[in-house]
């Protein structure tokens, strides 16, 4: 008898790629699971990432004795804007950057194949969270995606664009942002043809570009009666600049009206950011569900103490799915979490990101920590 040696994180991979029953796990069991997976990930990064190890030592973290996930040292995301915080060799990784539109400076995150595969796994269309959208449709055979964004080659390492192109793994995909031009009319024509051919179509892309397509249809009074054969998946920022913010509910209404969808449940947003290695997907009630391997901790911006569910504060993450960098993050986003409150019935945490930490709030601990922390 021979045994294939899997990594110590095989339990995590099974959760990400093979199982769906974890949505039904009681929150206590989800917490125990996270604790186990996080401890393994922390040991890995402490052993192989000298910068993170020094950071952990500077805050007195002991992986053998920590009692709560909120004690795991979290790296301010601004650190990724000035330091290459790698646990793996650069030669084994691809470099991804943030779009840089919000703060001007780009985060740089190195991902190896395992890290990338796990991110894709958190988006897999056979996951329970997508179940009522895709039903028993074989996307690979009967689906088509109109991607209102660039191809992977044109994405050139810009993270959210790259993530959206991962839909290519699951279904035939056409990209409509080419050489910096969004080909809206072409997308509208291809959509018309696909719906007429009774194909199952996903329209995907950043909200601003998806909105461009929907407005194009609306302005020209082009109406569809797609029923349940079209879904809309958005991911990325909700504004082009400080003055043009898209309201998610308005986008859903526009999609239902122009595409003739059965309901707004067919419009879903996915939350991710370049430093975070798991996607949080909206359920039919438009709540973003956090898979059980990720801990989301909301912190008081004044002193970084954890806040209870329902309170708004700085969002921070403990995500053990990244092997090539410590995905233990203190973000610049404000938001809140709820636990076991979603009417869809899925157990665990939902998160509502609300707004980015503004320059005017620089007195907050997060940025002070970010500017004083030295890694690498």
């Amino acid at each position: 008898m021979t045994v294939v040696e899997l990594s110590e994180t095989a339990e995590l991979d099974r959760l990400i790629f093979e199982q769906d029953t974890w949505w039904a796990l009681p929150v206590e069991d989800q917490a125990a699971l996270r604790r186990r997976l996080t401890e393994r990930a922390a040991r890995h990064h402490l052993e192989h990432n000298p910068g993170y190890r020094r950071f952990a030592e500077s805050v007195g973290f002991d992986v053998d004795t920590f009692t709560d996930l909120s004690q795991v040292p979290q790296v301010p995301t601004t650190v990724f804007k000035r330091t290459d915080l790698r646990t793996a060799q650069a030669a084994d990784c691809s470099l991804f950057v943030s779009s840089g539109t919000s703060s001007g400076t780009r985060s740089r995150v190195w991902r190896d194949d395992t890290t990338l595969q796990r991110l894709v796994g958190s988006l897999r269309p056979d996951g329970d969270i997508w179940g009522d959208l895709y039903r028993d449709i074989d996307l690979d055979e009967d689906g088509a995606t109109l991607h209102m964004g660039p191809s992977r080659a044109e994405a050139n390492g810009v993270w959210i664009s790259y993530v959206m192109t991962m839909i290519e793994m699951f279904t035939t995909t056409t990209h409509y942002l080419r050489d910096g031009v969004l080909h809206v009319a072409k997308a509208a024509e291809d959509l018309r043809r696909a719906v007429a051919g009774d194909e199952f179509v996903a329209i995907a892309g950043p909200p601003v570009f998806v909105a461009e397509l929907l407005r194009h249809l609306d302005d020209r009074d082009l109406r569809f009666n797609a029923g349940d054969r079209v879904v809309v998946i958005t991911g990325g920022g909700w504004k082009k600049d400080q003055t043009t913010r898209i309201d998610p509910a308005a986008l859903r209404d526009l999609a239902v009206r122009t595409l003739g969808l059965r309901s707004a449940e067919q419009v879903r947003d996915v939350f991710n950011q370049v430093e975070l290695n798991t996607a949080f997907v909206e359920c039919e009630h438009h709540n973003k569900h956090v898979p059980p391997w990720v801990e989301v901790i909301v912190r008081d911006p004044a002193d970084l103490t954890p806040l209870p569910a329902g309170a708004t504060g700085l969002l921070s993450y403990v995500d053990p799915s990244a092997t090539s960098y410590p995905c233990f993050l203190l973000s610049e986003d404000f938001g809140a979490i709820e636990v076991d409150r979603c009417p869809c019935g899925r157990r665990g945490t939902t998160v509502t990101p609300r707004r980015r930490l503004e320059a005017a709030t620089h007195h907050g601990c997060a940025l002070r920590l970010a500017t004083t922390t030295r890694l690498g």
Binding site: M1, T2, V3, V4, E5, L6, S7, T9, A10, E11, D13, R14, I16, F17, E18, Q19, S94, D113, T114, L116, Q117, R118, G121, R124, D126, D136, D138, D140, E141, R152, M166, E168, M169, T172, T173
Partner: protein, 296 residues
């Protein structure tokens, strides 16, 4: 990786679609591998496997089975393992002629193990048999998947269709073939394995709900031959391992080592994630072009 696409006709005149993948500079006498798809898998489902084996010097043939998903004749609604046997027998025989070999390595996944073992035992065309999550007791697998044992019920009482892994399947072709061949039963697998004259290895996931590891241990333990077939256990995984790229990568390293008869110290080249993503799109188009070219 160089790719050729072509069609073969089976003895009953049905069309099987085949893809051949080879290294750009193949070494003379390099390994030749035929990959038989498991239930619900197209030949392009094995793209990453082909990429990996070609990167390690093999020439790899894949095919879509008859009465299955993909672009060969028939529909998965009529699925039965004798159609899979007809497909793989046609392909392996053709491969031996094309490559000037008397035998090839056969990699069979999941339910393809049932006809794969039978073919390897009977035809003398296989020099190395590698099973991935290979089913050895088809009756138990059907029972597990369908929550019922339809093999021996009255034909008239069969439901019009049953749902197997998201595919609606008419159970009557399976029921009919079970009257002709006994491959769905474990003793037939044991007998065939005993008659196999080549190395046999089954990679099994310890929590597989389609393949009870106890069945594999019992079946493989019952085989009477000088060099017993081998079991390789993959921990912390189930039948869904096939969609777990991290576990699959670990398993595929060993599968490639076995299929290509590499030594324990030989490095196995692993294609990048980027290359695998690229291949998915390319092969989706290739499948379309293959089918369209046939119509033209």
């Amino acid at each position: 990786m160089l790719t050729d696409t072509y069609d073969l006709k089976t003895r009953s005149g049905r069309t099987v679609a085949v893809w051949r993948n080879a290294p750009e500079e193949p070494a003379p006498g390099g390994p030749v591998v035929v990959v038989a798809p498991g239930f619900g898998q197209r030949m392009r489902s094995a793209g990453a496997m082909a990429l990996m084996m070609v990167a390690n010097g093999a020439t790899v043939y894949r095919f879509d089975s008859l009465d299955h998903v993909g672009i060969s004749d028939g529909d998965i609604h009529e699925f039965c393992v004798t159609a899979l046997y007809e497909s793989l027998a046609t392909v392996v025989e053709d491969v031996c002629v094309r490559e000037g070999r008397s035998r090839a390595t056969l990699v069979a996944t999941s339910l393809a193990a049932l006809p794969g073992v039978q073919y390897a035992a009977k035809e003398g065309r296989v020099d190395n048999l590698v099973l991935m999550l290979g089913v050895v007791n088809g009756r138990n697998t059907l029972r597990e998947v369908l929550d019922a044992d339809y093999l021996d019920v009255e034909h008239a009482t069969l439901p019009a269709q049953v749902l197997i892994d998201k595919h609606w399947v008419d159970p009557r072709p399976i029921h009919r073939e079970h009257k002709l061949v006994d491959w769905w039963d474990e003793p037939a697998t044991v007998t065939a394995l005993s008659n196999c004259d080549m190395p046999v290895c089954n990679f099994v996931a310890v929590d597989d709900d389609w393949v009870d590891i106890a069945d594999v241990r019992r079946a493989f333990g019952s085989v009477d031959r000088p060099e017993p077939p081998e079991i390789v256990e993959v921990g912390l995984s189930g039948h869904a391992l096939l969609r777990n790229p991290v576990a699959l990568k670990a398993m595929m390293t060993d599968v490639t080592r076995r299929a290509l008869a590499l030594g324990a110290d030989d490095d196995v080249v692993m294609p990048s994630f980027e290359a695998m993503v690229e291949l998915r799109g390319v092969e989706r188009e290739l499948e379309r072009a293959h089918a369209a070219g046939r119509v033209a």
